[in-house]
Amino acid sequence: MDWTRIFSNVAGELIAPTTAAYALAAVGLNVHFGLTGLLNFGQAGFMLLGAYGFAISTIAGFPVWGATLVAIACSVVFALILGIPTLKLRGDYLAIVTIAAAEIVRIVGRSTALTGLTGASSGLRGDSYKKTFTDLSPLPDGTTSLGPFSYSNNASNSWWIRIVGWAVVLLACWLVWRLLNSPWGRVLKGIREDEDAVRSLGKNVYGYKMQALVLGGVIGALAGVIYVMPRAVQPDSMGRPMTFWVWTILLLGGAATVFGPVLGSMLFWAALMLIKTVGRDLIPSTVMRAEQIEQFGWIVVGVTLMLLVIFRPQGILGDPKELAINVR
């Protein structure tokens, strides 16, 4: 049993770009669900659209900032399309519509009819859109080791994407903290509690919900961009399970808290890595094959989500008195 390797693998997950991307997606979902009570089950759709928007426009020759704007614009349009019909209806309608819309994005994206644009189910290769982002890096080429971590400076799974990814996560956390403690956040909190009461006080509930949906969706789209940086845009890897992991992360860390999504994402990925590496070392392959250990990890995630929601819905950082999940 090689504890150093296990430890460095697990610690590596804490700062991995994927962890940052999921933390950011959960921050976006926190704006939807934690702050406003919106049941968005299509966060992966926002992420995939952001990823497509960034990658496709980069391939078309856009600079980084332009491609980022395209990613943001995609998510804004998506949020408006989702929000206009559903934000006036009961909460679970939004749940069904968002999950369906995210599936539509994935199904259309992977369709062979769009092969020229999206690369169909095999997706867009990372090399085709990474260069502009890598070129921005002020770091010299090469590899840097820091403690147990050793990554290349700029290529693919690099220090550069880690630095940028986590910087964006911190920025988003600051934004949520700022908004949470503002009159705007107070109105959202009121909407989460009881829409009619807020309406009776003269606030345009629909408008606020739309703002929250768009803001959280934009954060989700940026998360999608960060997610695909060290890999490829693969529509099938950004489907419903991704949305569900984001939910688990948010509820684990604590909805309506500033750092809950970050803590949740770190714990989630570190725990999965721990199960995987320890499992491979301890469990003989006659009992569980390698892929079964991975599946076992996901079973643990599913059970954790159930137990969490029932017994500790406020998550790790949440205040039970301010429980974000609507008790209605």
């Binding site: 206009i84 009961r90 062979t112 092969t115 644009l117 095999s122 079964q292 599946q295 609507n326």
Partner: protein, 444 residues
């Protein structure tokens, strides 16, 4: 860049061998000779696992970077509805590839082993034009099917029948979803896994334990119903008693769905599972052909759906169920034991879902760990379309969704057909949120 939306779809399905790479390719056509679009093939071999999907012309191709033996598995769940492999024993099949050359792999569809070559696999690279253009035999009329995407009455009829079959089977699953929503207010995202459970149990009983299909189907439905009873007793009833909110319960169903999906995968793996290995015989009705399996499945589904309707309309318990669905508080006030009705609904709903899973597994020719999850949103679409919480709405909605899914094949690529149904779901919510049969209350 955006202009290239219209670019030829087959772009990535071409492969030219170079000294460093070899090619694997083929063409898959339906029994009727139309290209089978969006069929997934998993390839394992020295160059690592690969996955390819057939293009709009039914062709697939992939380069491999190492020579050797490759095992190609066709994912039967991705076949167009109603299609089946002519020779399932040949799936997966192994071919050997050399660098710098192409190798074809054939997966003929549709006809029974002895039938005329309604389906063709063409070896890629070598034969550029598939031999399947001139199939004769199974589908009597020579009209239709000739051009890809061309709309002919024959194809319309064929797709309509397919839609009705699919819709009827979908209804089995949707009715339970709708009843559960109606009586408890819960949007059950784990309902798809009840469907999968049915299909998977039928597979385990027939293939692993060697029981006859009828018996294993019956067991699957009974165990499915039992799992519904158990679920309500073990999870949902205690949660209702704890007064756990609806949103929380909804997330619990998602956790449950994740858990069950990976439990299925843990024990049975990620590939598709065939409940019956032999190939179904096909029957011709006018211009339309249909497999015997589908015909019998629809028959069973129709009988069961009529029985459920009778139960809801004419029996005391059925009326009580509808009363609870209508207004639980009022029903409780008039002496109905709401908890008992809910337990019954869970049992009935899960049983129906399991039956739907068995029949859907037979109809699609295979089941897998995510069959129900794929169908879940179509069920939600059906239930929403019909009006959330009304059992008959779910029935009508399912048929409509079935027709939309299959008929949309005529105008959009078949790998996008589920997207069409989901788009309808969103449109319905926009225009008539209470559904076709729902009432205007409880909205907004």
């Amino acid at each position: 860049m955006l202009v290239s939306v219209a670019a030829p779809a087959g772009a990535s399905t071409a492969c030219a061998p170079t000294p460093e790479t070899g090619c694997l390719s083929g063409t898959i056509k339906t029994a009727a000779g139309a290209p089978a679009v969006g069929v997934t093939l998993d390839i394992a071999g020295p160059a690592g696992p690969l996955s390819v999907v057939t293009g709009s012309d039914g062709r697939w191709a992939t380069p491999v970077t190492a020579a050797g033996q490759y095992t190609i598995t066709l994912d039967a769940t991705t076949l167009p509805a109603g299609e089946a492999l002519r020779d399932p024993g040949n799936n997966p099949r192994t071919v050997s590839v050399d660098l710098g050359s192409s190798k074809g792999a054939l997966f003929p569809l549709g006809a029974t082993a002895g039938g005329a070559g309604g389906a063709t696999g063409a070896t890629g690279g070598a034969t550029a034009s598939p031999a399947g253009g001139s199939e004769a035999g199974l589908d009597t009329p020579a009209t239709g099917f000739s051009t890809e995407g061309g709309v002919s009455w024959g194809r319309v009829a064929q797709q309509t029948i397919a839609g009705l079959v699919f819709g009827t089977l979908l209804a089995l699953a949707s009715v339970g979803l709708s009843l559960i929503f109606g009586t408890t207010g819960l949007s059950n995202f784990a309902h798809g896994e009840q469907v999968t459970l049915g299909g998977i149990l039928a597979y385990v009983f027939t293939q692993k334990l060697g029981l006859p299909l009828l018996l294993s189907g019956t067991f699957a439905v009974l165990i499915g119903a039992g799992s519904g009873w158990l679920q309500d007793a073990g999870i949902w009833h205690p949660l209702r008693k704890r007064r756990v909110g609806m949103t929380q319960q909804l997330i619990v169903t998602i956790g449950l769905a994740i858990t069950l999906q990976y439990v299925f995968q843990f024990f049975l793996g990620g590939s598709s599972l065939r409940i019956v290995l032999s190939n179904p015989a096909t029957v011709n009705i006018g211009p339309v052909f249909i497999t015997q399996q589908s015909l019998i499945s629809v028959g069973i589904a129709a009988v069961v759906l009529v029985s459920v309707s009778y139960f809801l309309i004419a029996t005391r318990v059925g009326r009580a169920t509808r009363a609870v669905s209508d207004n639980a508080a009022l029903a409780a006030a008039s002496g109905i034991t709401v908890d008992r009705i809910i337990r019954l609904v869970w049992t009935l709903g899960a049983g129906l879902a399991a039956l739907g899973g068995v029949l859907m597994g037979l109809y699609l020719n295979a089941t897998s760990w995510n069959m129900g999850a794929t169908l879940l949103l179509l069920m939600f679409a059906a239930v929403t379309l019909g009006g959330l919480g009304t059992a008959f709405g779910a029935l009508v909605g399912s048929i409509v969704i079935g027709l939309v899914v299959e008929l949309s094949n005529l105008v959009i690529p078949s790998d996008m057909r589920y997207a069409g149904a989901l788009a309808i779901l969103i449109l319905v919510l926009l225009l008539r949120p209470q559904g076709i049969l729902g009432r205007a209350e409880r909205i907004g």
